[in-house]
């Protein structure tokens, strides 16, 4: 088991390296001079040249890439934001907790809502309730997050006035962003739970459990649900990653100062080091979560042999 975990972690290293290379390369070939961005438009050519020489911006691509990788890996230095006038790592460190909090609570919320929805829908297949859940999940999957966010603000903030439409520090400020970010995840988790449960409920051991007179509640929660969990867990893990990416939109709508909004501002200002750092952080988080899900499989389902 431990060997498996270690091997999986080691496998992530080339992935992270490649992500860094890809993002660096995309942004390197993006038009726009970092020196102009840092110094503004009204400076002399000499100042620009001096800045470029000092920052090593005139070095060939491969030298700059090598320097970026070396500093990031051996010194934990992700570069310096010309716009923010501070190091990328410290900017990220300020913003990461907010984004993780947002994504984490959204995953918790969508799991707590999505799984029961799917289970109920599967138990009462073809009932009115099932149709209702199916309709909701279809709408949820097809609804753009940013539109859902605006509707949520319209309903709960503008009309009812229950929750504020900005910020993310108090509990009441957290409600609407979490609801917005969870919207499509609830639908996806409910959908997978329903189909996974339907498959399990038809199996022989469920018939056996019922035949021996087991209470229906025990049949569903003790026998059926655990066996339906593998695909559900996969989806929840994937959702966590999607939510980290999707937090960009939610953070933009609710003016939350997390990594997503930081990156969006960086994109508008062409502040490349910040973009590189942000993408790297989200990709690392995404990969680690998927790794944790893979390892959890082995605990939930002993049939999965870890080679």
């Amino acid at each position: 088991m431990l060997k498996y975990v270690i091997r999986r972690i080691l496998q992530l290293i080339p992935v992270f390296l490649s992500v860094m290379v890809i993002i660096f390369t995309i942004l390197y070939f993006t038009p726009g001079d970092p020196a102009r961005i840092a110094l503004g438009q009204e400076v002399t050519q000499e100042a620009i040249d001096a800045f470029r020489a000092e920052q090593g911006l005139d070095d060939p691509y491969i030298v700059q890439l090598g320097r970026y990788l070396y500093k990031a890996i051996f010194q934990g230095d992700l570069g310096y934001s010309y716009v923010m006038k501070s190091s990328v790592s410290s900017e990220l460190a300020n913003r990461i907790p907010t984004t993780i909090k947002l994504a984490f609570w959204s995953v918790v919320f969508s799991t707590l809502v999505g799984i029961p929805m799917g289970v109920i829908s599967a138990i009462k297949q073809y009932s009115l309730l099932d149709s209702f859940v199916t309709l909701i999940t279809l709408l949820g999957v097809s609804m753009p997050t940013f539109w859902f966010g605006l509707l949520v603000i319209l309903a709960f903030s503008v009309h009812l006035g229950w929750f504020p439409s900005m910020g993310f520090s108090t509990v009441s400020e957290m409600v609407l962003p979490i609801l917005t970010l969870s919207g499509s995840s609830i639908a996806i988790i409910a959908r997978i739970t329903r189909s996974s449960m339907l498959e399990v409920i038809r199996s022989d051991y469920i018939r056996t459990a019922r035949a021996k007179g087991q209470k229906e509640r025990v049949v569903i929660f003790r026998h059926a649900l655990p066996n339906a969990m593998i695909p559900i867990m996969t989806i929840i893990g994937m959702q966590f990653g999607m939510l980290l990416g999707g937090s960009i939109i939610t953070e933009a709508i609710f003016s939350i100062s997390g990594v997503g909004r930081l990156m969006l501002e960086a994109i508008n200002m062409r502040d490349y080091p910040i973009i590189q750092g942000g993408v790297l952080f989200i990709s690392i988080a995404f990969s680690l979560i998927n790794l944790v899900v893979d390892i959890l499989y082995a605990f939930v389902d002993p049939r999965i042999h870890v080679k």
Partner: protein, 284 residues
Amino acid sequence: MAAKSNSLWKYTLIRLRRNYLAIFGFVVLLILIFVAIFAEQVAPFGYAEQDYMMIRKPPSEAHLLGTDEFGRDILSRLIFGSRVSLQVGLVAVSISLFAGGAIGAIAGYYGGRIDNILMRIMDVQLAIPTILLAIVISAALGPGLFNLMVAVGITSIPRFARLMRASVLSIKGMEFIEAARAMGASHTRIILMYILPNCMAPLIVQSTLSVANAILFAATLSFLGLGIQPPFPEWGGMLSAARPYLRNSAYMSIFPGLAIMITILALNFLGDGLRDALDPKQKR
């Protein structure tokens, strides 16, 4: 060969016809395509036609869905906006279908080291959440319709590559491939003429669902200010422009979102229906 694929399509059509949601999706899509092609004829106003007497007026008889902050007719802008969405959907998915399909076919067919290298590259791309990658690429390419299509198209290449590879692997070992090879067919010929036609079903389903995804991504990028630039209407961009007026003119935000949702819903219905109709596991 021809007779076999004919009957496959006929069978698919028969099964699809029984699925009302899929038909609904198909009809909505046809209407959308019609509206997009004949936008000039269908739309009551031009997309940039401003009327300063009619700024931010709620839906009325003259302007069925109201007017925006420049007094432009929202319905007309939605109609012209459908062009962008459908174009982005089709072109972006074509990009990912061709690139991903080629990568997957080569990886699956040749196997070995090529397979390993190509699929590891795909894995790396999958390590970056798709919406994030789309945002970075479109930020790098700059605004514009074509750049938007490329940015959205690149993001789903791995999905098609994996799908194609899996299909090729399952078909590669079959006897008719061996027969073709024995007859002296070249690798390219075997891939294009014998393997590809037999991988069509999952590719079609994935393409339909990916169009929905592409439209959603395009709208998201435009909403974030990275896609189509004003004054040309794009549904996501319209929503973004309507945001400041959410409090007093909510209809400005509601209709573009509805347009996006209905389009995506239709594509999802059709995609799910196609999957059910084409899935051999469900055949009786």
